[in-house]
């Protein structure tokens, strides 16, 4: 298929359809309402399900009910909406139901603002709701990558029987870029008969399935938590994904940045190289699991003096970087949030202060 020019939010909706995510429940919220608007037209064309729920809370349980039937199901929202969905996400993770949540982040806390932000990093990567659970978190840096990540999110959710979150800043949803859509995926999880409540008659075993999260016996609940923990540890072994940038040379500063912010950093790094200052970057594409080993090794390069986290938040990723670097180098932060995107010049200034 040839390239088309599409707005990020619409491309995300189309990508989900091509991944077989034909069941969509959502509640409008800026800056991602275009996904629901697009899918309200597209889902009837492809025989899919579109439903606008009464609240994000209700939507998260519509996702739960549908996912527990073994259907490919997803929703999209933005920061305050994701907070409301976090109740349901905790249950879905506990019940091990595959599903995809897209968060097109806006500024917070509270109502915050409607402009781009990366201020939900900790909420997304450390669980977000109550209890011991994790989401696999993907962070696209372009509309094309958002498309590819949304399409990969469904099979990954099914591989781990866990919710997957695609965490994009508002720019990913709002900007238009040329995109190319990969081939369609098949539309049903393959292993669902062992767990899904899809009606006993449809299964060979003819035994009933139960989707639940309550374990009143502490030994059983501990065992269930250990099972979930093993799953997150498997993600840490198998799903590390990052993009290195200019890590070959003798860089003085290592930047860690993701999403749209990392593209500003690339420009800054290119300019600094022209000025004779070598800077490397690691762009985590998956935020959980975090590329801890890669960051540790890159920070440990002899030439590297300091590590700089550049984010559209007040430094939420810093603690992940610090635990990765293990005290080998000092870790710093530069960023803005609330909708202002740091310019390449501002990033260059922040880097220069560390290189001196």
């Amino acid at each position: 298929m040839s390239k088309v020019l599409m707005k990020g939010n619409e491309a995300i909706g189309e990508a989900a359809i091509r991944a077989g995510g034909l069941n969509y429940f959502a509640y409008p919220i800026t800056p991602q309402s275009e996904v629901a608007e697009y899918l309200s037209k597209r889902m009837p064309e492809v025989g899919g399900v579109f439903l606008q729920g009464e609240s994000e809370v209700a939507v998260s349980y519509m996702i739960f009910g549908a996912a527990a039937c073994g259907k490919r199901v997803f929703t999209t929202s933005s920061s305050p909406g994701i907070s409301l969905m976090s109740e349901g996400i905790s249950y879905i993770a506990a019940a091990e139901c595959p599903s995809v949540f897209v968060n097109i982040m806006r500024g917070g806390p509270g109502l915050g603002g409607i402009l781009p932000s990366q201020a939900d990093y900790l909420q997304a990567t450390k669980g977000g709701g109550h209890g011991d659970y994790k989401l696999l978190v993907m962070a696209p840096a372009s509309v094309q990558e958002a498309v590819e990540m949304v399409m990969r999110a469904f099979p990954l959710a099914e591989k781990y029987r866990n919710p997957v979150m695609v965490l994009g800043d508002g720019l990913i949803g709002q900007m238009m870029e040329p995109v190319e859509f990969p081939e369609h995926l098949k539309s049903e999880p393959s292993n669902k008969d062992t767990w899904a409540t899809n009606g006993m008659d449809t299964r060979k075993s003819k035994t009933r399935n139960l989707v639940k999260t309550l374990y009143l016996d502490p030994v059983e609940l501990n065992a269930q938590n250990l099972k979930l923990k093993a799953k997150y540890e498997r993600m840490e072994r198998e799903e590390i994904l990052y993009e290195p940038y200019h890590l070959e040379g003798d860089y003085k500063v290592l930047i860690v940045s993701y999403g749209t912010m990392s593209r500003v950093c690339r420009t800054a790094i290119d300019h600094l190289e022209g000025e004779g200052l070598a800077v490397g970057m690691i762009r985590p594409q998956h935020l959980f699991p975090f590329p801890a080993k890669a960051v540790y090794e890159a920070a440990g390069r002899d030439s590297c003096r300091a590590v700089l986290s550049v984010e559209m938040s007040m430094g939420q990723m810093v603690e992940d970087i610090e635990r990765s670097v293990k005290g080998k180098r000092s870790v710093h932060w530069y960023g803005k949030c609330g909708g202002e995107v740091p310019t390449p010049e501002e990033v260059m200034d922040a880097v220069k202060k560390l290189a001196d």
Binding site: L51, C69, K212
Partner: protein, 247 residues
Amino acid sequence: MGKTFHKPEALADTITHYCPGCTHGVAHRLVAEVIDELGIRGRTVGVAPVGCAVLMYNYFTFDFQEAAHGRAPAMATGIKRVRPDLVVFTYQGDGDLASIGLSEIVHSANRGEKFTTIFINNAVYGMTGGQMAPTTMPGQRTTTSPFGRDPAQVGMPIRMAELLATLKTPGYIARQTLLNPKYINRAKKAIKKAFTYQLNNDCFSLVELVSTCPTNWGMTPAEAVEWAEGNMLPYYPLGEFKTPEES
């Protein structure tokens, strides 16, 4: 002489955790009998609430999902939208449905979701230990209304069947009770009607069942039945409040 009374196939052969005199057991049996009679066990998915009936899936022999407090109608919506061929019901208490889940039940009913709700109204939170519910009667003492429910402070009990019947979307809304065999037969007829409307893809259906909670009311089972007849039935009248034919 042959066997004339047996356990429904939809009901598991096990002992329940419910208290003596509790009406959950009767309500469970009625649902199971209706599912057997309609021959739908293999394509039914129940949605359990939070409350005393959270473990109800242990007593039934078909697919079940367990919801969060009040969210069962949203889960049932999710199931029914992606698998309209399944038969789906929620089973919810008054704290679950009329308090924390008020939004979910109202909007599911208003969208005309094609599932069935069995609503157990015993005027109290059961599982958490007898706290005041939106359905608690004026003057009724609970662990959070130790001087009796004061309508000047917390309003009058919510009549859910009447409230839902005001919606313009077609639906089947009925209230029955489980206080004696005559009422139980009527309750079963209402439950069967509710499931039949779902099978015909007609409308949302809800049967409210005025029930007893001897443990949290601090009464014997016999006293509880008498109290419910004298106090609840005058305020919660029985009957059909809405049918799709009349809507």
